[in-house]
Amino acid sequence: MRKHLPVAVTGLGCLCAAGADLAECMASLFAGKRQPKAPTLFTTGHAVAYPVFEAPLAEPEQAGLLRTSRLALVAAAEALADSGWSPEALRGKRVGVCIGTTIGGTTSDEGFCRALRAGVHPDLAPMKRILGSNPARSLAREFGFTGPSQTIVNACSSGTDAVGIGASWIRAGFCDLVLAGGADELGRVTYNGFTSLMITDESPVKPFDKNRKGLNLGEGAGMLVLESEMLRGRRNKAARGFVLGYGSACDAHHLTAPHPEGLGLKRALAEALQCSGLTPDAIAFVNAHGTGTPDNDRVESRVLSDVLPMVPFLSTKGYTGHTLGAAGAIEAVFTLACLEQRRIPANVGFSEPDPELPATPVREITVVQGAAALSESLAFGGNNAVLALGRGES
C-alpha cells in the first residue's frame, strides 16, 4: 500500500437538521441543540411516530430534481463559495464530482407504482425526475463541470467512500478539483424499511448509551472541495483541512449486521492510518458512526477500545439523525470544522454507560489536542470506511 499525499480541502458546505449551513450546524452542535420530531415530509401508517431529523431546505422546488439532488446543490454551492471558486471560473478546468447516496440512486417511486398496481397509467413525471436526478450528474450539470462524475451507492458508508475516492482522483492527476460529498433525503420507503428491521428508536437517538434502542433517520448533504496543489498554489489559497488517508474493507460476514469483532472496521482503520502515515497517538479524536443501534455501537466501542484506547470519540448523529449516504460526508465536514475549532461537542443522547461497552464517548464539549482526526462509517453489506483528516492552515 502506498502512502498517500495529503489532498487539500479548500471549501466546506453542509445542510442538515442541525442547520442550513455549516456555521449554523456547528453552533447547534456546541449548543447541544437538536430537533428530532415526527415526520412532516410524508405520512406514515405506523402506530408510533418514530422521530426524524428533517433538513431546512429553503430552496424553492426545482422541477425535475429529487430532493436529494436539491440538498446536494445547496451544500455544494456553500462549499464552492467557501473555496472562493465560482462555477464560471472553473470552466475549462478538470473538475470531477464524486457523491455518495442511497435514495438518490434508486428507481422507486411509491406513487407511480401504487397507481400502476391499481390499474391506472401513472404520469411518467416521477420516473423522468429519477432519471434526471443522479446526484453526481445533477451537480456536474448545474455547475458545468466536465470531468468524471461518480455516484457511489455503498449504503451508509457512501459519503465517506466518496470523499476518499474523490481524493484519489486528485492524487492520480485525473482532476484539478473535485466536489466530493454525500446527500440523501428522507422518505417513506427508507422510513418503512428501517422500521421493518426494528432498528429505529421511538425516542430521540442515544448513541452508545446503555438504553439505546436504535437510530433516528435524518437527511441532508455535506460537501468538500478538494483541490490539487497545482491549482491551489496558483491562487495561494489556504486549506481548511486535508484528506490525509482513506481505508475501507468489507466484513464479508452478514448483509445487515456488522462483524461482531469489527474485523472489517479494524482493517479499514489500519489502512487509513497506514496510508496517511499517522500513528494512534496522533489522533485528536474520532467521529464515530454511532447510529444508536445496539449492534453498531457495541462493535464500534470494542474496536475503538482496542485500536485507539484513550482517544476521545463521539457520534454526531444525535444532532443530525442518520443521514445514510450523506452521513459520512456530513461527519467529515464536522470533523474538519472541529479540528479548526480544536474542540468537539458532547455526544448528545449519551447519559448512562453500558457495561457491555469498553469505551464511552465524550459527555461534554472537549478541547482536543493534535492536528488529525478520524471519521468512520459502517454500512449495510458489511462495508467499513474511514477517513483520516488533517487540520488546515488557516
Binding site: 400502476l116 432519471l131 455516484t151 451507492v153 418503512n192 422500521t195 421493518s196 426494528m198
Partner: protein
C-alpha cells in the same frame, strides 16, 4: 494517466448464455435469440422482446439453500463473479486482498418493487425487512463478498449509462495505489415488470425485435439483462492473454472528447437508443467501428459486455464480425487485431461519455 491493468478472467451471463465460451459462440454466430418478457399493464398482460439471463448455473458454485434469500439481481452478479474467478484460475485463491467493484444502472429494481408491494399489501407496518435489505444498491456486492470471503474494499457505483467507466476508474486506481492485489469488477442490470412497463410508455412506437445500433434515427433498443465480470490485476509487464486496460476516461463532451488513437478500433456502446445514438454521429468518417449490443441487449451496463468482447478479441487476437448492420470498416469475417488497440466508447445523455482503451 497511463494504466497497466491486466484482465485475468472473464465471467459473463446474459441472453447469449453463460460463460466466456457462450459469448464467443454468439460472437462467431453473429446473433443471439431474443426472448420475451411478460409484464402487466392496466389493460392486461403484455410482452416485449428482451434478452434474459438464466442464473441456474450458479448452483455449480453455491449450494441451492444458500441462495434461498438471494434475488435474481445478486445471483447474476455472483454468477458473473464466480465465472470470472474460475476463468482466471483463482477460485481457490486467498481473497483477503480482493476488492469488489460493481457498476449498475438501476440496481435490484425487482426487489425494490417487491418491497413496495409488501407495503401496498400489508400497510406500512408490514413492510418486508428481507426485501428492504436486499433492495439496497450494494446488495449484490455484499452477497458476492460474503460468499467469496472477499474482505478487501467493496464499492458499488450507479451512474446510469456511465456506471461502467466510472466504476472501472475506481477499480484501476485501487490497483494502482496497491490497496488490493486484485479486483473483481463487473456490471449488472436486470429486467423487470416495471422496467418493461416504463419502456413501453417511453417508447410507445418502438416495436423492434432487432437492435440496429448504427441506425441513429431509429429507436430500435431491445431490453437486456445480465452481468459481465472481470478479474483485474496489476499487469507489471506480465503476459495478459485477455488484454490490458491502458486508459479509462469519463466526463462530458462539453470538455472535449479525448483524442482517439489513429489506429484504434472503436467498440461503440450504441444500443438502439435514439437519444444517445445522436452523439455517435460526430465520430470520424474513416473510424473503424463495431457494435455488439445486438448480442446482449440494451442495458445501462452494456460497456461491461463490450469490455468482455474486447478481452476475448485480445485473447483470440482477432476482431469478431459485428452482428448485422453493426460495423463500419470491419469485414464480415474475423480479421486479425494486428496490434491495434480497442476503445470501448459509450455516449450517454447530455454529452456524457466513457472511454476504455484495451490493448493486447
Amino acid at each position: 494517466m497511463n494504466l497497466d491493468i491486466a484482465i485475468s478472467g472473464i465471467g459473463v451471463v446474459g441472453g447469449f448464455g453463460c460463460g466466456r465460451e457462450a459469448l464467443a459462440r454468439a460472437l462467431r454466430a453473429g446473433r443471439t435469440p431474443v426472448g420475451k418478457a411478460s409484464f402487466m399493464t392496466p389493460e392486461g398482460p403484455a410482452q416485449l422482446p428482451a434478452y434474459l439471463a438464466d442464473t441456474a448455473p450458479l448452483e455449480r458454485f453455491v449450494a441451492k439453500r444458500e441462495l434461498r434469500r438471494i434475488d435474481h439481481f445478486s445471483r447474476m452478479a455472483m454468477l458473473g463473479g464466480f465465472l470470472a474467478l474460475e476463468d482466471a484460475g483463482m477460485l481457490e485463491a486467498d481473497r483477503s486482498r480482493l476488492g469488489v467493484v460493481i457498476a449498475t444502472g438501476y440496481g435490484a429494481s425487482r426487489t425494490t418493487f417487491s418491497f413496495l408491494d409488501s407495503i401496498f399489501d400489508g400497510g406500512d407496518a408490514l413492510a418486508s425487512p428481507t426485501h428492504f435489505s436486499s433492495s439496497v444498491h450494494n446488495a449484490a456486492a455484499a452477497h458476492s463478498s460474503i460468499l467469496l470471503k472477499a474482505t478487501g474494499p467493496s464499492l458499488t457505483v450507479s451512474q446510469f449509462e456511465m456506471s461502467v467507466p466510472s466504476a472501472l476508474l475506481a477499480a484501476c486506481l485501487w490497483l494502482e495505489e496497491e490497496r488490493v492485489d486484485a479486483v473483481l469488477f463487473g456490471g449488472v442490470d436486470e429486467c423487470g415488470e416495471l422496467l418493461h412497463y416504463c419502456w413501453q410508455r417511453f417508447f410507445p412506437t418502438a416495436t423492434a425485435e432487432t437492435i440496429r445500433p448504427l441506425d441513429f434515427e431509429r429507436q430500435s433498443a431491445v431490453a437486456g439483462e445480465g452481468a459481465a465480470f472481470m478479474l483485474l490485476t496489476r499487469s507489471a509487464g506480465a503476459v495478459a492473454p485477455l488484454g490490458r486496460i491502458r486508459q479509462v476516461l469519463q466526463g462530458n463532451a462539453e470538455g472535449g472528447v479525448p483524442a482517439l488513437p489513429g489506429d484504434a478500433v472503436l467498440f461503440l456502446g450504441a444500443d438502439g437508443h435514439r437519444e444517445c445514438g445522436a452523439a455517435y454521429r460526430g465520430l470520424p468518417e474513416n473510424a473503424l467501428l463495431a457494435t455488439y449490443a445486438p448480442l446482449y441487449g440494451s442495458l445501462p451496463v452494456g460497456p461491461a459486455f463490450d469490455l468482455a468482447v474486447a478481452a476475448l478479441s485480445c485473447r483470440e487476437n482477432q476482431l469478431f464480425p459485428a452482428p448485422s448492420g453493426g460495423s463500419r470498416g470491419i469485414g464480415l469475417q474475423p480479421e486479425a487485431l494486428a496490434g491495434r488497440s480497442i476503445c470501448c466508447l459509450k455516449f450517454g445523455t447530455d454529452g456524457d461519455f466513457g472511454l476504455i482503451r484495451v490493448e493486447k
